[in-house]
Symmetry: C2
Subunit: 202 residues, 2 copies
């Protein structure tokens, strides 16, 4: 390549996750051949998303208003709160149809390795939110932790559970086990171990 | 997702080649979490590439000037011209180190199926360029066709060769055959057939 602007675009694109230098170059050539309308639209969409999207003041999910659509929805169970790591977890959980409560986004998990402490997450606002609901008709009775079953997820779940239990709240965690349709022969030992520990009466 | 600007970005990104809706959504979330500086830089790089990059007036490769770097390079063999389909083929061929001549980009190949005729390509300027060089000290003596060995590539190569031969020019084509390190057991029949046809004396 002998064109600084093409090299620049290629290098910016290769900073995206899963986009290596070869893919970035291929995308750059595609953009160069694309109609100007499309490139303008993509460029504006990038800036727009940063300018318009902010965190919901209640649950810290993404919204373009003060509160997000789920927090504003009157047909949800205020007594049930699901804790997730990222805003992207919410549509995933919601599309299962098995949860009709509210959400709270931590924006990460506790990770001493990466220097992420509870202070860096939306954990304090969670505690405040739960406490503030006490005695009101919207009192949060159960907090469901929907975090990954890795070291950081487990640490974060335990940390949150420890504090919330002092508030006299039912703290639960989504089940980890064999996926539906999963073949026991091919499941890793840790998942199988967890599935056995968490066995349920039939 | 409940944020129009996030959905918009996701839909624009999913129009890129090799980026499906899931990857587009993942990239959108990444962009939302990225520093504003990066997003601005990426957005500007997109617009810049469309505004700044144009076609070299001589070889039709990409450049930000009137002529591209290869056309301006005084240390290249003017008598040798390599014909490629796309500007992206040039760095590929150049990095082999086996070609030190000039290039000419067709911007496609003849394809009756897709309705692409010689008129839609930079074939006429190629003929003019070759003719204009005649009798000068930069006379083009050999044209090397570096096109894919598929139906469209073959058609285009034959079309160009037919006209150029009337100009009394040596027209060659890059060799197609077994790749270096390729195992004959795993090579397709067409490549093997071509490798046999084009066998060389040792």
């Amino acid at each position: 390549m002998y064109t600084p602007s093409l090299e620049k675009l290629s290098s910016e694109l290769s900073r995206l996750p899963g986009i290596g230098p070869k893919t970035a170059l291929r995308l750059s050539y595609f953009i160069l051949r694309s109609p100007k309308d499309y490139v303008t639209a993509l460029s504006e969409a990038l800036v727009d998303v940063k300018n318009k999207v902010k965190l919901c003041e209640k649950c810290y999910s993404y919204t373009e208003q003060v509160l997000c659509r789920i927090c504003l929805d009157p047909n949800r169970d205020n007594n049930l709160l699901c804790i997730v790591e990222n805003p992207s977890d919410i549509p995933q959980i919601d599309s299962s149809g098995a949860f009709k409560g509210r959400y709270h986004v931590l924006h990460g998990v506790i990770s001493p390795m990466e220097g992420i402490s509870p202070r860096d997450l939306k954990i304090e606002p969670l505690f405040k939110r739960v406490q503030a609901s006490k005695g009101t008709e919207d009192q949060i009775n159960e907090v469901v932790l929907a975090l990954d079953a890795d070291l950081e997820g487990d640490t974060t779940a335990l940390y949150i559970a420890k504090t919330l239990k002092t508030y006299d709240i039912n703290v639960t965690r989504i089940a980890h086990g064999i996926p539906i349709g999963g073949d026991i022969d091919y499941i890793d030992h840790r998942t199988l171990g967890r599935a056995l520990e968490n066995r349920v009466q039939i």
